[in-house]
Symmetry: C2
Subunit: 195 residues, 2 copies
DNA sequence: AATAAAAGTCACCGATCGTTGACAAATGGA
DNA sequence: TCCATTTGTCAACGATCGGTGACTTTTATT
């Protein structure tokens, strides 16, 4: 009979744990040191396995990086909102994405590597195109959509850079409430193009 | 007599040209590919000299990087201004620094390398402490100075990241006038802490 | 218990890196 | 012209990198 063999619904078995260990170690080191700064040997050592296993499970360092950066990049959707609260909605989603979602580490990895890794840079541009632009576009002059989205991206990426990469003390010290209160209105202004 | 021998006021001779060639090549490649991405051999090839000369003139890659990033980091001073135009003054100095000063390349080098090079990251924090904070501090509640300066830095660094590193098309396309008009008021708000 | 597949170990390849030191060529003052 | 200093060339070092393949151990099935 064997009526549940086509899919593999249960497979907690064996090697998948090693796979997950490697991915966890890779995410951690990529997030800390970027693509170049994290070697396969370092990742293997952190995962307590042999370096050859890293290549065995993921075919190359590039592929491992892509998995580590993208696998869990399930960004929370922006709940539909009205024009008056779009800035507030964006900054709240930003905080949710960067501090309370499984994608948080992936975002740090991407941003840290984007400065010197073209694949990561392209992926950041892609996140902009799919996550920022469509959200901002409907709330102003369509001819302005690119400019408005670009301004929003500049503020969001700057906040992320200062808070999660450079760890600029006064920016790290900001509470969620302060960020929402101070940055929200700026995003509102950028997103709608109002003066 | 030899009354001018303690200092060496004139030395256009010979090797200084090679030195300058190496520095120029290093600045260009560090700015394009970051610290790790630019090898001494690449720099030497671009300068049309032997890799060993790079070490001969600068003692190590670290020292060369420090020279390339800091040598010409003479940021233009912010002219004193009144409270009402501080945002405008900051964004104008930003554009002058990043697009019309010999420090421009050094800034790109620092920012691109800061994501994965601790020396560069520390230097960026230093630029923040010496260039942003003191400018912003006098125009609001002294207890707020850190927060206000941090918000200003987040917007400035974000703009630089999008425009000069990631080259996000809509941000690259912004004219100086647009940037001054759109970002200036935001910096004004951040710097003064007004609502 | 026998056995085939899976999982893990180990030594090593070729490439590239920063750096060194021995040596040759060019330079300039005596 | 002689000679010492500067300037440039060359080969190679040790280390590290990503990646490969042969091998042994474990696991699971019959």
């Amino acid at each position: 009979m064997n009526f549940m063999s086509t899919n593999q619904p249960k497979k907690p078995s064996k090697s998948d744990r090693t796979r997950a260990q490697i991915l966890d170690a890779a995410r951690q080191l990529f997030a800390e040191h970027g693509y170049d700064g994290a070697s396969i040997r370092d990742i293997a050592a952190l995962a307590s396995i042999d370096p050859a296993m890293v290549i065995r499970y993921f075919r190359s360092k590039d592929e491992l990086f892509a998995r580590a950066a993208l696998l869990d990049l399930q960004l929370p959707a922006t709940q539909v909102t009205d024009r008056a609260s779009i800035g507030d909605a964006i900054i709240r989603r930003f905080l949710r994405t960067w501090e309370n979602s499984p994608s948080a580490t992936g975002m740090v990895i991407l941003l840290r590597s984007a400065a010197s890794n073209e694949f990561a840079a392209e992926k950041v541009r892609d996140v902009f195109a799919t996550q920022v632009r469509p959200v901002v576009a409907p709330f102003g002059d369509p001819a302005d959509a690119g400019r408005r989205a670009g301004l929003v991206a500049s503020q969001l990426l700057g906040l992320a850079t200062c808070r999660y990469l450079l760890r600029l003390p006064p920016v790290v010290a900001l509470s969620h409430e302060e960020i929402i209160r101070d940055v929200g209105p700026v995003l509102q202004r950028y997103a709608t193009g109002a003066d």
